[in-house]
């Protein structure tokens, strides 16, 4: 089979490639698919996952301000302390959880969204029941629209955001605001 392929592949070329005709066609089809998919995505500037024009960070930014929805956990203590949800070990250490949190950081008060937040909290409570290292007991979750005025050299502890509550979900029952 290989020898026949050599004869095929030598037609019109100066050497043998030791690839059957079928494999040669398959290889070219795959090469064509990858190149055409990527070229189409770039030329028309459209997302065609897994092809992309990769626009990340490609625009010029001039404003030193940031507005971003941020999820806070309300700790079940007397003061009702608020901490960033991504600072809790369970969400910070697990790649899937921390990526999932990004999908919750959107400015919406849709009831479906609140149900999803409640599920997230219920799952956290279940995990916490299994291991105390997961994080502190939580009374609820709050999604704020946060805005920062960014100053080079100023970290989180120094930069206090302006916040506006979008949604609050309590353990057990939940309500939007």
């Amino acid at each position: 089979m290989i020898d026949a392929a050599i004869v095929q592949s030598q037609q019109g070329t100066s050497r043998a490639w030791y690839v059957t005709r079928w494999r040669m066609i398959l290889a070219h089809a795959v090469i064509l698919f990858v190149f055409s998919g990527q070229a189409f995505s770039v030329l028309f500037d459209v997302e065609l996952w897994p092809f992309s024009p990769y626009p990340m960070y490609s625009t010029v930014r001039t404003s030193y301000s940031l507005e971003h929805p941020t999820l806070y956990a309300v700790v079940d203590d007397a003061a009702g302390t608020e901490i960033l949800l991504r600072d809790i070990a369970y969400f910070a250490d697990d790649r899937a959880q921390s990526q999932l949190l990004l999908t919750f950081e959107q400015p919406t008060a849709d009831p479906e969204f609140q149900r999803a937040l409640a599920k997230l909290l219920a799952r956290y409570d279940a995990e916490r029941g299994a291991s105390a290292e997961v994080g502190p007991p939580l009374r609820g979750l709050r999604l704020y629209e946060s805005s920062w005025q960014l100053v080079p050299g100023e970290s989180e502890s120094e930069a206090t955001p302006q916040r506006q509550l979008i949604v609050e979900v309590s353990g057990g029952n939940h309500h939007g605001e």
Partner: protein, 327 residues
């Protein structure tokens, strides 16, 4: 006549680039490293959590949209991820390799596709292409349990063939495309202003608050505008020059570590985790030189050679004596 010669010359160059006969072992070693690292990376990753994502965040990627593929339940996602991880391990070991690489691609396309239908980012798009290419590559013709299990002499390398070269070439292209195209996007949307403005300083600051970079140095770096512009220029030059790595060994020695440095820098200072793409860079490692060096070490140290089982020792003979490169 001249045009005929040019046509033949171009065809020869094209075929030489993709199909110049190569040994089976480097592709097989790429297979082991690629699937092995993927298995380790995703071993503790829980795809099941994506069933918890808000319903309004579901924006199907093209493969899901075209074939109307739904998001699976939590239980099904957990089951599928178990099968995917098993397939990655089998592909690494070379066990039922054809089926394992095909399943790694199919299940990976679905599981990673679910993630990207909920939360679009570009950290693992190239991984899907690499899994797809490996699914059709003849990557089990060396260093695979399959060959040992069916009882053939597994240590004689298969005849060099173009079949062992084109997947590596295409995967190398797939791994540099994200950065190269990102460079083109910057030129298209911002031009050189992307370098000669405060853009990188602002991105470093914004990502410090919005995402989760490993190091909190972004806010400090942002104080030095000239340094940010220098870093931006370095990043853009590296991205746009990357295709040179395909044709020049010297450029490769500089640009591939540079590209890996960029991907690592993204994680350290900006947040996005490009580990899946970094794993794909194993296809840039000089496997032939690595194995030659290893073999030389074993051959020149009788103690090490004696540790090898008797039936493996013929493989330690110099490569030239076992097969000659066909011309």
């Amino acid at each position: 006549m001249a045009s005929e010669r040019i046509r033949h010359n171009l065809k020869d160059r094209w075929l030489e680039f993709w199909f110049a006969p190569a040994a089976a072992r480097p592709l097989a070693l790429c297979r082991i490293a690629f699937y092995g690292l993927l298995f380790v990376y995703y071993l503790t990753y829980d795809f099941g959590v994506w069933a918890l994502a808000p319903a309004d965040s579901w924006a199907p990627t093209p493969p899901f949209l075209i074939f109307d593929v739904p998001r699976a339940s939590h239980e099904l996602l957990v089951l599928l991820q178990f099968a995917w991880k098993a397939a990655l391990l089998c592909a690494c070991l070379g066990l039922a390799t054809r089926a394992a690489t095909a399943a790694s691609f199919g299940l990976g396309l679905y599981l990673i596709g679910v993630m990207r239908s909920v939360s679009m980012n570009h950290t693992d798009a190239a991984l899907i292409l690499v899994l797809g290419i490996m699914a059709v590559a003849r990557c089990s013709d060396a260093c695979a349990l399959d060959r040992w299990l069916i009882g053939r002499t597994r240590l004689q390398a298969s005849r060099p063939s173009g079949d062992y070269r084109w997947p590596v070439q295409l995967i190398q292209i797939a791994t540099i495309l994200p950065l190269f195209v990102a460079g083109i996007s910057k030129l298209r949307h911002a031009g050189l202003e992307w370098v000669f403005s405060d853009t990188l300083a602002i991105v470093l600051l914004q990502n410090h608050f919005r995402t989760d970079p490993l190091l909190p140095w972004g806010v400090e770096l942002a104080r030095y505008g000239w340094l940010c512009q220098l870093l931006a220029a370095g990043a853009l030059i590296t991205e746009l020059a990357l295709p040179l790595a395909l044709v020049s060994v010297r450029a490769r020695l500089l640009l591939i570590p540079g590209a890996l440095g960029l991907l690592l820098g993204f994680r350290l200072f900006l947040g996005p985790n490009f580990a899946p793409l970094m794993i794909c860079y194993v296809f840039w490692l000089p496997w032939r030189q690595i194995t030659d060096t290893l073999m030389h070490q074993i051959r020149t140290r009788p103690g090490l050679a004696a540790l090898c089982p008797a039936h493996l020792r013929p493989a330690l003979a110099p490569a030239q004596s076992r097969h000659t490169r066909p011309r």
